[in-house]
């Protein structure tokens, strides 16, 4: 199972993890497949992690966040923002606002199966060297992601036992 926890960790690194503490509740899990409901104050949702579904070409991920004023959908190819209202000052408009990967992808000094790994490594180095502020993803965020992973694994173990 060690490899599967590493994979889950990779999946989880892409989560928005700003909340201080997230509770996850077991719904279903079997080996590499895990589905968890969570809630934290006013935030609630479902997290589905799977590394064995061969109908997906991996890595594949998709987030859908539904809020009072709209919705955000993010996947490998695009970020899409749907607004219920027309904001005055930020360049977005009512309805769908789409931003494709080709609009914001940045080249890296070395690309290996995605630019994210080098980007993350360089950001870390630059933050240590004082060239970045290190706030894009903090140790707090990392810890929160680890907690979510831990709960997934715990739930999984309970299910298996």
């Amino acid at each position: 199972m060690r490899h599967s926890s590493n994979r889950k960790r990779r999946e989880e690194q892409r989560l928005p993890t700003k909340s201080k503490r997230r509770r996850t509740y077991y719904v279903y899990s079997k080996k590499d497949n895990s589905c968890n409901n969570f809630c934290d104050g006013n935030l609630s949702g479902t997290l589905h992690v799977n590394w064995s579904d061969v109908s997906y070409r991996k890595p594949a991920y998709k987030f859908e966040l539904l809020g009072e004023k709209g919705k955000i959908v993010a996947d490998l190819h695009a970020f899409k923002l749907f607004l219920n209202y027309g904001p005055q000052d930020n360049g977005y408009s009512k309805g769908w606002n789409n931003c494709y990967i080709t609009d914001f992808a940045r080249s890296v000094r070395f690309y290996l199966r995605g630019n994210e790994f080098t980007t993350q490594l360089d950001y870390f180095i630059d933050s240590i060297m004082g060239r970045e502020d290190g706030k894009m993803c903090t140790f707090d965020d990392g810890l929160n992601a680890d907690r979510v992973i831990e709960e997934i694994i715990k739930n999984n173990a309970e299910r298996v036992n």
Partner: protein, 292 residues
């Protein structure tokens, strides 16, 4: 080197523009006859060169080509290997160590290999890896038996991993093996064209064939578009351009114009699913080449 080579990503649910489109293509091309129909369209339109990943479905296609030698008498293939997802799935099934045992270290356990590494006997491991690499290449090439293969590509995930490791021996041995066994040049897909070309030249692999994303938007060009342009202009190698449309960020006309005006680019790889797109792209490349 063929000027226009037809790629196969669209047949296997790979689309860098949208998940939905990838899904739709995956459904459409579930039927091998749907793939054959598109290939025939390209072939009839004068594109006789195809780059194929060593996907299981390609083995079926190759059976079809062999069964119809008259129809595909001028077929020219550029296999690209390995189809990494095959191995990724093995890792998912058996874990990293299990997959390594299966594919790389054969009958030696990972513990034995790690023990060997710890003792500093790197050369033994390297020799094993080269032997296994040749076995894997031969296994992947089996599906193309009897067909006209023009060059054999190392797929970019593997190329770039080996490049990162600085594995000179593996590159040289791969190139030698392809030349001696299949009588054609080894070629390389990479997302880091400048680094790779300089590395291959350092390895004394002369005039290497390197296929990378080359497009006006600079998309998937690492470290940057300027390094690519300079490299293509000054270094002795055979560049092949893929992703010229940058997943839709560049219009077809601009895309072809950008690539065609760089005279040293030998080939253009593109994939499409509709007759219109195939014909339009082919026509535009021909037009720009005529002007050049």
């Amino acid at each position: 080197m063929d000027r226009i080579i037809f790629g196969d990503n669209q047949f296997f649910g790979i689309n860098h523009m949208s998940e939905e489109k990838a899904q739709a293509q995956s459904e459409r091309f579930k039927d091998i006859n749907a793939i054959i129909k598109v290939i025939d369209t390209a072939y009839d339109c004068g594109i006789h060169a195809f780059m194929f990943n060593t996907h299981d479905r390609v083995a079926e296609l190759c059976d079809h080509f062999r069964a119809n030698p008259g129809k595909y008498s001028d077929l020219r293939l550029y296999p690209s290997m390995p189809y990494a997802h095959k191995y990724a799935n093995a890792v998912n099934e058996k874990g990293m160590i299990g997959a390594l045992n299966d594919f790389v270290f054969a009958d030696r356990s990972a513990a034995q290999v790690l023990g060997t590494l710890a003792r500093g006997a790197m050369s033994i491991v390297s020799q094993d890896m080269v032997k296994v690499m040749k076995l894997l290449v031969d296994a992947e090439m089996r599906m193309f038996k009897g067909l006209n293969v023009r060059a054999v590509f190392l797929q970019n995930i593997v190329t770039d991993l080996l490049l990162g490791l600085g594995a000179k021996t593996v590159f040289v041995e791969f190139a030698n093996h392809i030349r001696s066994t299949y009588g054609v040049d080894a070629a390389f897909n990479s997302m880091n064209m400048p680094k790779l070309v300089n590395f291959l030249l350092d390895c004394d692999i002369e005039n290497p064939i390197v296929c990378s994303s080359i497009n006006k938007a600079g998309y998937f060009m690492n470290p940057d578009i300027e390094s690519y342009e300079k490299l293509i202009e000054t270094k002795p190698f055979r560049p092949m351009a893929m992703s010229i449309l940058a997943s839709g960020a560049v219009s077809p006309r601009e895309a072809v114009e950008y690539v065609a005006r760089q005279k040293n680019i030998k080939s253009i790889v593109f994939g499409a699913s509709s007759k219109n797109h195939i014909e339009e792209t082919k026509r535009m490349i021909d037009e720009y080449d005529k002007v050049a």
